[in-house]
């Protein structure tokens, strides 16, 4: 394998790992938020707002690593 092939390989693996991490994080977050809303339907608005912020933070970290993979792929 030459260097380019290794870079593409790393980018593909990295993108897959990134999605696994991000999906696990946001999945847990959504599951907990739904449980919270089911227990306390009155607090649905507040819970949703807090959920979106936390999802945004998780997504931000995920994008950091996605950008690393894009840089690897267009190297």
């Amino acid at each position: 394998m030459d260097a380019n092939a290794l870079a593409y390989f790393a980018a593909g693996i990295g993108a897959g790992l990134t999605i696994m991490g991000g999906a696990a994080g946001i999945g847990r977050l959504a599951a907990s938020a739904m449980e919270g809303i089911a227990r306390q339907p009155n607090a649905a608005g507040d819970i949703r707002g807090a959920m979106i912020v936390a999802a945004g933070l998780i997504e931000g970290v995920t994008f950091f690593s996605l950008i690393v993979t894009i840089l690897l792929a267009i190297k």
């Binding site: 707002g49 979106i52 912020v53 945004g56 933070l57 997504e59 931000g60 994008f63 950091f64 996605l66 950008i67 267009i74």
Partner: protein, 286 residues
């Protein structure tokens, strides 16, 4: 951009026949080239930068729409556009500014409204395809100005200045930096905590910059890739390309609808996080 439409129109004719494309042609019209031509900054219509063009358009559209809403607002009970703008402004003032920045929310509401409306309008404008005719050939121009990292960097820099201003104007320069570490911390922790706090001062706007940039970039990349599937399949066989058209268009439409949601969420998140960070510097932990 133009290259996509050109390729969409010519793929069936050009590559459908038995004539195989030469290597040079593949390099020029390769999928990756078109993808990056679409998402990266290009000179367009004689102007130096398409993102600059859309940046100015978004700023003018924001100003125009809000001024128009303001004029209607003076008539009495707001309805239509004025009611929509009022609802958003009230939402930003009550649910974002005053909740995240206790006692001083109103002072920063105008800044937060500017962030929210500009990011929202820029993202929505990026979803509108504008027909253009460079050199007589039909083409489509779409660009999200917030999909350029320089634009989001400027937004994040303004956010950074606002955060530091919130702390410095309230406690003075020395008090602001002293407030970074909670009082009563053991002295041996200071060599760790001070660098960490100063680093986090800069990583906050950096994360804001990357988040907005990557979100806007990702949507455009996905839509472009889905549309590029048509010519890519047409290269294999013309029938595959034709069969791919409804699939690509419906998936692209779905992503476009998702992008409407993302535009709202990203404007909300950028505004909310800026407000939270301002609140953190205005009221450090005691």
């Amino acid at each position: 951009m133009n290259a996509i439409v050109f390729l969409l129109a010519s793929a069936a004719v050009e590559h459908g026949g038995s004539a195989a494309p030469t290597v040079g042609e593949q390099e020029e019209h390769g999928a990756a080239t078109i993808l990056f031509h679409h998402v990266l900054d290009q000179p367009v219509l004689g102007l130096p930068s398409k993102h600059l063009l859309f940046f100015v358009l978004a700023a003018l559209a924001t100003l125009f729409v809000v001024r128009m809403a303001l004029r209607r607002y003076r008539g009495g009970v707001p309805h239509g556009l004025a009611a929509a703008v009022e609802m958003l402004v009230l939402f930003i003032r009550d649910d974002i500014a005053e909740k995240s920045i206790p006692h001083e929310g109103r002072k920063y509401t105008s800044l937060l409204c500017s962030f929210f409306f500009f990011i929202l309008v820029a993202a929505l404008l990026g979803l509108v395809p504008f027909p253009i005719f460079p050199a007589g050939k039909p083409g489509v121009l779409t660009a999200t100005s917030t999909g350029n990292i320089a634009v989001t960097m400027a937004l994040a820099a303004i956010s950074f200045v606002a955060q530091q201003y919130a702390g410095i104007s309230k406690y003075g320069v020395i008090g602001h930096f002293r407030g970074l570490v909670p009082p009563g911390l053991p002295a041996w922790l200071l060599p760790i905590m001070v660098p960490v706090e100063i680093l986090s001062m800069f990583t906050k706007p950096f994360a804001l910059m990357i988040r907005l940039f990557a979100n806007m970039l990702a949507g455009h990349m996905v839509i472009t890739t889905l549309l590029l599937l048509i010519p890519l399949m047409a290269v294999v066989q013309t029938f595959f390309g034709v069969a791919m058209i409804p699939i690509s268009l419906s998936l692209g439409l779905f992503i476009m609808l998702l992008e409407l949601l993302v535009a709202l969420i990203q404007a909300y998140i950028f505004t909310l996080l800026t407000a939270i960070f301002i609140g953190m510097y205005a009221h450090p932990a005691h």
